[in-house]
């Protein structure tokens, strides 16, 4: 194809997205569109899979059967969400094994938030309430993104996600209305998860490298700063219901903007966590890679068994 022909195809492609047409896997697409989507969808999938680790740890220690079944179901949903997203990503011509390889070698990123430890039971509440809350804000606009398989996966994910946030809030509410020690535990979890949750929505707009292109492809419908403001504005009144204090002395209602002003975010901390120096980066990867390696004989045995069954069937047919 000549350069002019490619330019022409690209113009037609951009016009389709502009008209809100969806792009499907076998359609022609610019190489950069393919690569950007593989990067973003796989990061999203990895985040779901690694996101199971901080919570999976608490399943056996849940304080009641009600809490245990809920947490178990939530973690199972996250596995499911990872699978929807990996499938969507594979339609772009990358294999599941390549994607895992990228995660396990550290070539691919996952959400910075999962590199913080879940220290107490209240963290299960804070993660559901804040981390899933921030994730929903990020994901709802993606239900309309231009790449069909990604949009379809996000619709399914969003439908399931609201239970996650509500179960987290319920845990917080119970603790906040419990003994003074329980309330303190809830406050402590909020203190530790608040700032990482704000960072999770990504760098500020002036520092975000991919925003302009991603907006054009509808991979992003709102900027990081808009999403962050939305998250703060809807979460502060929820903290009031809990009777807990957001750990930000500069947080105050701005009458003119009809939004909350908030204090400075420690972006140096964010950068360090993204670079791999967060409190749990090594531990998370060790757990993930370990599980993958320990599962190898199971995967191999299942494949060998399927082949044996198939061979037996063929032999009988002769």
């Amino acid at each position: 194809m000549s350069e002019d022909q490619i330019k022409n195809l690209e113009a037609q492609f951009e016009a389709r997205i502009e008209r809100d047409e969806k792009i499907e896997p076998k359609d022609w697409m610019p190489e950069k569109y393919r690569k950007t989507h593989i990067r973003q969808i796989s990061q999203h999938a990895h985040s779901e899979i690694v996101g199971m680790l901080p919570e999976g740890n608490w399943i056996t220690r849940a304080p009641s059967l009600r809490r245990k079944v809920a947490l178990l179901a939530k973690v199972q949903d996250e596995a499911g969400h990872g699978l929807y997203l990996y499938s969507a990503c594979e339609t772009l011509g990358v294999s599941r094994d390549e994607l895992y390889e990228q995660l396990h070698t550290g070539k691919a990123k996952y959400s910075s938030i999962f590199n913080y430890p879940a220290l107490t039971w209240a963290d299960m509440g804070a993660i559901g309430w804040l981390v899933d809350g921030a994730a929903i804000i990020n994901q709802v606009p993606l239900c309309n993104t231009s790449f069909g398989p990604y949009a379809r996966a996000m619709i399914r994910v969003c439908k399931e996600e609201s239970f996650h946030q509500r179960q987290g809030f319920e845990i917080m509410l119970k603790l906040a209305n419990g003994t003074p020690e329980q309330k303190e535990m809830a406050q402590d979890a909020l203190n530790r998860w608040w700032w990482p949750s704000l960072m999770m929505l990504g760098p500020t707009d002036d520092k975000s490298v991919h925003t302009a292109q991603s907006m054009k492809w509808k991979l992003k419908r709102k900027t990081n700063d808009e999403l962050r403001q939305q998250f703060i504005d809807q979460t502060v009144p929820q903290a009031d219901v809990l009777g807990l204090t957001i750990p930000d002395p500069d947080l105050k209602w701005n009458k003119d903007r009809k939004s909350y002003d908030f204090g400075a975010i420690d972006w140096e901390e964010f950068l360090q966590v993204v670079k791999g120096h967060g409190p749990m980066n090594k531990e998370r990867m060790k757990a993930r890679v370990g599980a993958w390696e320990r599962g190898k004989w199971v995967r191999d045995a299942a494949m060998a068994y399927a082949e044996k069954k198939q061979a037996r069937k063929e032999k009988q047919a002769v």
């Binding site: 359609d27 094994d97 379809r152 299942a302």
Partner: protein
């Protein structure tokens, strides 16, 4: 020992009797039985279905979007296949 990757399967789910099976997504499994079991866990955790079909992805032949013109455009100029092509006076009812 085999290090072959598990093949990919396409999953179709009938959400309730009376409706057709619809494509829900895909997953990896060693064989059809495992694909069915995994599809139950991945795609029907909340009563989304009453029946599942699994088809190994390699068995699906898909049309190529590049040929969409010759495949689908011939239908565009055949307006006589639609009821609105035919003139019938307004006073004629039930037609």
């Amino acid at each position: 020992m085999s290090t072959k990757n598990w093949p990919l399967w396409e999953i179709f789910v009938r959400s309730k009797n009376g409706l057709e099976h619809r494509h829900f997504g895909s997953l990896h499994a060693t064989d059809a039985d495992m694909a069915l079991e995994n599809a139950r866990d991945v795609y029907t955790r909340r009563n989304e279905g009453v029946s599942i079909w699994v088809v190994e992805s390699k068995h699906i032949t898909a049309s190529n979007p590049e040929n969409s013109g010759e495949l689908f455009e011939p239908a565009q100029d055949k307006v006589y296949r639609h009821p609105t092509f035919y003139d019938v006076p307004d006073e004629v009812k039930h037609m």
